[in-house]
C-alpha cells in the first residue's frame, strides 16, 4: 500500500505549483492514473482525503482520470486494450507486445482562482 506516499507526492507537487501561481485557492486537481500504474484508484482517493488535510488542497475537488492501458502487438501491429500484464493480443493472441499507454501516474493540471 504505497498510495499514501503517492498522495503525499501529489500534495507536494500541487502545493508548489499553487504557490508559484499567486492564486488564492485551488478549485480542482486533475490526476491521470493508468490502469497499469500500480496504483489503485480507490486507495489513492482514500489516501488523498487524509494527505490533503491542512494543505492548500484541503477543499479542492480531486478528479482522477483512469487511463485504459493500450498495447501495440509486435506480430500483427494492431493496437488493443490490455486488462493486465498477462493479456494477449486481442487480434492474433500474441503475447509479444509493447505497452504504449496505461503506466501514467501524473498530476495533469489544477484549476485555481
Amino acid at each position: 500500500m504505497h498510495e499514501f506516499s503517492v498522495a503525499q507526492n501529489i500534495v507536494g507537487i500541487v502545493t508548489e505549483s499553487f504557490m508559484d501561481s499567486g492564486a488564492k485557492k485551488i478549485i480542482t486537481v486533475e490526476i491521470d492514473v493508468g490502469s497499469l500504474s500500480g496504483v489503485i484508484t480507490d486507495a489513492l482517493e482514500f489516501a488523498l482525503d487524509s494527505a490533503k488535510q491542512g494543505s492548500p488542497l484541503e477543499n479542492a475537488v480531486v478528479k482522477i482520470n483512469n487511463i485504459q492501458a493500450l498495447a501495440v502487438c509486435s506480430r500483427c501491429h494492431k493496437k488493443f486494450e490490455l486488462t493486465d500484464f498477462f493479456s494477449v493480443c486481442a487480434y492474433c493472441s500474441s503475447v509479444s507486445y509493447e505497452i504504449v499507454k496505461g503506466k501514467e501516474l501524473k498530476v495533469k493540471s489544477i484549476e485555481v482562482e
Binding site: 504505497h2 507526492n9 505549483s17
Partner: protein, 266 residues
Amino acid sequence: MCDTCGCGSTDAGYTISKPGENTHQHHSYGEVHGHTHEHNSQHHHHEHPHEKARTINIEQDVMQKNNLLASRNRGYLDAKNILALNLVSSPGSGKTTILEKTITALSDHQFFVIEGDQQTLNDANRINETGAKVVQVNTGSGCHLDAGMVYNAIKKLNPESGSILMIENVGNLVCPAMFDLGETKRVVIISVTEGDDKPMKYPYMFESSDLCIINKTDLLPYVDFDIEKCKSYALRLNPNLGFIELSAKTGEGMGRWFDWCVSQNK
C-alpha cells in the same frame, strides 16, 4: 502496517544506524529535497472584481522527486564504479542469508550493505558479523525504501570505488516495485515455499526486475512448487528476466549467483 495506516505524518522520520550505535540520526525528507518558496512583492495578491478561474497545466510525474533522487544516486554510483543491487522479495525468502553467504564467499570483493526493515537492527547485526560495512534504515511505518533514504544511507556508509553495494529492501513484493533507488540491477528473490504463481500475483515486481533468484531449492521434494511454471509466468511479464535456482542453506547453485555478481561488477 504501512504509510497509510501508520501514525507517520508527512515529515515522519526514518532512522539510519550502524550496529553498536546508540544514537539514531533522524533524517526527514526535507533534508534531501527541501526547498523554500520565495515570493517577491510582485506576486502579491489583490482583489479583482472579474477574477476568474484558470487552469494551470502541470503534467508532472508523481514519482518525479523520487526518480530525480534515484538518478542522482545512480550517477554517483556509476562514477565510483560501484555495483548496486536492490534485493526485493517477500519477508522470509532468504535475502539476508544469501547476503551473508555471498559476502563470506566473495572475500576478494569489498561489500557495503544497506539493510531496510521497519524495525530492529537484527539484519544489520547479522551482516556486521561478516565484516562488511552496513547501515540499517528503519522505515518506521513505511513499507519500502525510497531514493531519499538510500541517498542518506550512502552518505553515512561512504562505499569505496569498485565495491559492491547490496541494498536489502523491506520484505514486501508490492510497494518497493514503484521506487527506483538508483540501483544498477534489481534482483527479485522468491523461495519454493511460496506459491509458484507469485509472478502472476505480484506482476510489478517481476516486470521491473533484472534477475530472479529461486531460493530454498533443497525443499523442492517437500513442496508443490513448479519451477518451470513459475518461470513461464515471470517470462510472460518480463522476457528479459534471468533466473538462478539455488539453496542458500546447502550452497547448491550459489556458484552461479556468485559468478553473476562478479560478472556485473566490472
